[in-house]
Symmetry: C2
């Protein structure tokens, strides 16, 4: 695993992300100043819960899973971050300790921004502070959404909700490719892989076709009713 400065592709990915979109080029440059990027193989651990962490992380390519460990060794996914997403920012506000584990789900390029630098910039530039607040808020919302879905929806309903989240508003029929293995989707939805599989086959009766990673929806309404 080598650590390098960002190349132009890394920069482009990060700058195109939600976090940077409202920031000026100058502000973005200041944040990325001194950032490094490193390559991680599938299953590599990026940080462990309770470990000191003095960076904020950003997925330049690949996929990262953030999860907690139960004392029996079972794992609970908190979030899954695809290319362009920032994660690990919580440690910045909690004594530089990670509150979860992070693992590369596939071979990934991970950028690291120095959190001291970011904190200093946030003090000086209200728009950076604002961007950070929006990031924290989005991540809080993600967790709340997840919690509410876990508590309110059955497995097939959660899967239906996930699919609908990928459906453009107007269309009644559409298809898309899962951005990761079903494995990972199951974890993200808080399900065992077997349960995800059964959920898909339950949805088949409502016009959902699954072939490998391809998902086809034939009747949006039926899904919404589910």
């Amino acid at each position: 695993m080598k650590t390098l400065r960002l190349n132009s592709n890394d920069r482009a990915v990060l700058l195109g992300s939600r976090f940077f979109e409202k920031l000026s080029a100058a502000a973005s440059d200041a944040i990325l100043e001194g950032a490094v990027v490193s390559n991680h193989e599938e299953h590599d651990i990026l940080f462990h819960q309770d470990e000191p962490v003095d960076s904020v992380f950003c997925v330049s390519s690949g996929l990262v899973r953030v999860y907690r460990l139960g004392k029996d060794g079972r794992e609970a996914d908190i979030a899954v971050f695809p290319r362009g997403e920032i994660f690990g920012e919580n440690a910045m506000f909690l004594g530089n300790r990670a509150t979860a584990n992070a693992q590369a789900v596939e071979s990934s390029m991970i950028a690291r921004l120095d959190s001291r630098n970011l904190r200093r910039l946030a003090e000086q530039h209200p728009d950076i502070a604002q961007a950070l607040m929006e990031l924290l808020c989005r991540h809080g919302q993600m967790a709340e959404d997840c919690l509410a879905e876990d508590r309110l929806l059955t497995a097939p309903q959660r899967v239906a909700s996930y699919i609908l989240g990928h459906c453009p508003d107007g269309s009644t029929t559409f298809s898309f490719r899962l951005p990761f293995q079903k494995n990972v989707l199951a974890g993200k939805l808080g399900l065992a892989p077997e349960a995800l599989s059964r959920a898909f086959s339950a949805l088949r009766r409502s016009g959902v076709t699954v072939k490998g990673r391809m998902i086809e929806i034939h009747d949006r309404q039926a899904l919404e009713r589910f």
Copy 2:
């Protein structure tokens, strides 16, 4: 329900809260400038999901439950806020729309801070922005903790974890009074009241005594092992 300016007691409660603790008196005064407080009866709804909200809320006295509604009418608690806690700040960053419902669990005094004012202050004062970021982070963590516990722990384990959260570090034996009805605790832990009841009786075998709202722990280790 009358709306008034804050009295000295309200101010004292808010200023003693986590959010204000690191802020200067001047900063706190500026935030509380124009704040109003109103009385709400048990079960009063403070705001509904998707409704426009242009305040940040603070519990001056009483108890507030934040929850989402499933389409079948079932409710899932996201968080419960006791006296001194701030809530509803998410709407500030999401187009002034509430992402959940909030309800007074008991007769409560609720302070309302103007969110435009707060946003403006955060732009001008880095320490206020910092306090907001810490608030957002704590609330995000709360949701993540909850999610992880839901996914990793059984009902009795969640209850044990809740009890241990109230146990001072050193002591092996101690007791405390539940800060709200079992009803509410059940919701907070994502359980039906019956399940909470059964969880308590399962813990009885591990040295937990429950009499009304009083909880007594006789063997901390046993609880931790559970």
